[in-house]
């Protein structure tokens, strides 16, 4: 029985098959609208995340399945003192798979330990959010037609941004991928990621100047630089504009660049970028549904792969 807890749980081969299935689903969704008929997905959102929850629920409904669950942990039985492991044991009898979102790091793994059905991690604290990475990969594959031989630029908060960490670990496994990390000095990639890249000899460069790096990128992954990450207000105000993408900065970028963002955006991408054909962050949200459909189909009905 498979689960998806960490972004590296699937081999590159498995992941490629999964993304190929997601592509087939995107091409003709009708062919799959009864695939999971009669199956139930439990959507356990101990921590609210409307975007991710709706994406999962939409995915299950599009496959003909049904959804039970809750969208706010304060309404769940754990709020009355029940342990997470007891909740998971119980829900294993109610549903054919469990999607869990939880504020504590490692919660999805605890769920997997106690579940008798497949578990999907929909975000556990600051640690992992593997279906966001699948979404990012599917977007890149759709737009660039490959996941190998790409120069991937990551801009913004690279220290705390878990979506960046997962994407880097994952796409770094494909041959010919290299990274350009652009961030304020305080928000550079953390030591564990540096070690990971060094051990696998994945090339990367770091800088704090976005304009110069833009021209070299095939993919630009934007994240937000948050005010609360800085010790003082002046420093934040001085730095934040350097990491805001606007149409003027994009003049230096290649014509084939793909601009991604995990959303929601606050101010790190100016609205004047939205109409640029290189901006794919709204399509990205749509691909997320297909990526999750493929994942559900695979975990619940392994036959569909390959």
């Amino acid at each position: 029985m498979k689960s998806l807890i960490n972004t590296l749980d699937f081999s590159v081969k498995e992941q490629d098959e999964l993304l190929a299935l997601a592509n087939r689903m995107a091409a003709s969704p009708k062919d799959y609208n009864e695939l999971l008929k009669g199956r139930i997905m439990a959507s356990l959102f101990f921590e609210p995340s409307t975007r991710t929850r709706l994406s999962f629920e939409s995915a299950m409904l599009r496959l003909g399945g049904r959804v039970i669950g809750f969208s706010d942990g304060s309404l769940s039985s754990t709020a009355k003192g029940e342990s997470l492991s007891d909740t998971i044991r119980m829900v294993s009898h109610y549903a054919d798979c469990i999607v869990i979102r939880h504020s504590k790091e490692g919660a999805a793994q605890v769920a997997q330990t106690h579940a008798s059905v497949p578990v999907i991690n929909a975000g556990d604290g600051g640690r992992e959010h593997p279906t966001q990475t699948l979404t990012d990969l599917m977007t890149i594959l759709k737009v660039k037609n490959r996941l190998d031989n790409l120069t991937v630029g990551c801009v913004g908060d690279l220290k705390f941004g878990r979506t960046v960490h997962s994407l880097v670990k994952n796409i770094g496994r494909y041959p010919g991928v290299r990274f350009l990390f652009v961030s304020p000095g305080e928000l550079r990639i953390p030591a564990f990621l540096r070690t990971y890249l060094d051990e696998l000899r994945i090339p990367y460069e770091e800088s704090s100047h976005m304009e110069a790096a833009l021209g070299l990128m095939d993919v630009l992954y934007m994240t937000r630089v948050q005010r609360e990450r800085f010790f003082n207000e002046e420093e934040y105000i001085r730095l934040k504009d350097m990491f805001i993408l606007n149409s003027q900065k994009l003049e230096n970028a290649g014509k084939e660049l793909a601009i991604l963002h995990p959303l929601p955006r606050v101010n790190e991408i100016a609205y004047d970028v939205d109409d640029d054909p290189r901006a794919v962050y709204f399509d990205q949200a749509g691909y997320g549904v297909f990526a999750r459909m493929a994942l559900l189909a695979w975990l619940l009905d392994g036959k569909e792969l390959g």
Binding site: L84, S85, Q109
Partner: protein, 146 residues
């Protein structure tokens, strides 16, 4: 030498020798010897040519122990298994690759902070620096902190 005489005095059992002075009591606790139903002797601050002072633990009639935790607490200690008054085996000490409920995760964001019944599991990440990683939140802990 006093330590040597004590090692020899046991007929059957385990002798943990060359424990860094002061660590014997820790080891005693982590091996749950305070709850043991067999004879245990702990010697503190015994004279040692090599170490100056050392601690020794002698366990009578038992020849099997969870050695892994000993390696984590004091990897320079030596373990001799005694039978018929003779040393029949020396157990090499290494750092355990996984420890359960020996190191504890202090990360307040870790799931073990709220799921009290879960065992605290740590996996060895870097033997040279004795770094262990929480199996849930991946928080690093230094084994020397024990």
């Amino acid at each position: 030498m006093a330590g040597q005489r004590l090692v020899n005095s046991i007929e059957k059992g385990i002798v943990i020798d060359h424990i860094q002075a002061g660590m014997g009591i820790k080891l005693f606790r982590y091996l749950n010897l305070d709850k043991a139903g067999f004879t245990v002797v702990m010697i503190m601050n015994a004279a040692s040519k090599r170490m100056g002072r050392k601690d020794i633990i002698k366990i009578q009639d038992i020849t099997d122990l969870d050695y892994t935790v000993i390696g984590l607490i004091d990897h320079r200690a030596t373990i001799s298994v005694i039978d018929g008054g003779k040393i029949i085996a020396k157990k090499p000490l290494t750092l355990p690759s996984t420890v359960q409920n020996v190191l504890y995760c202090k990360n307040p964001r870790c799931v073990t902070a709220t799921e009290k019944q879960m065992p605290h599991i740590f996996r060895l990440q870097n033997a040279g620096e004795r770094i262990y990683k929480c199996a849930y939140c991946e928080e690093y802990v230094n084994g020397f902190e024990l």
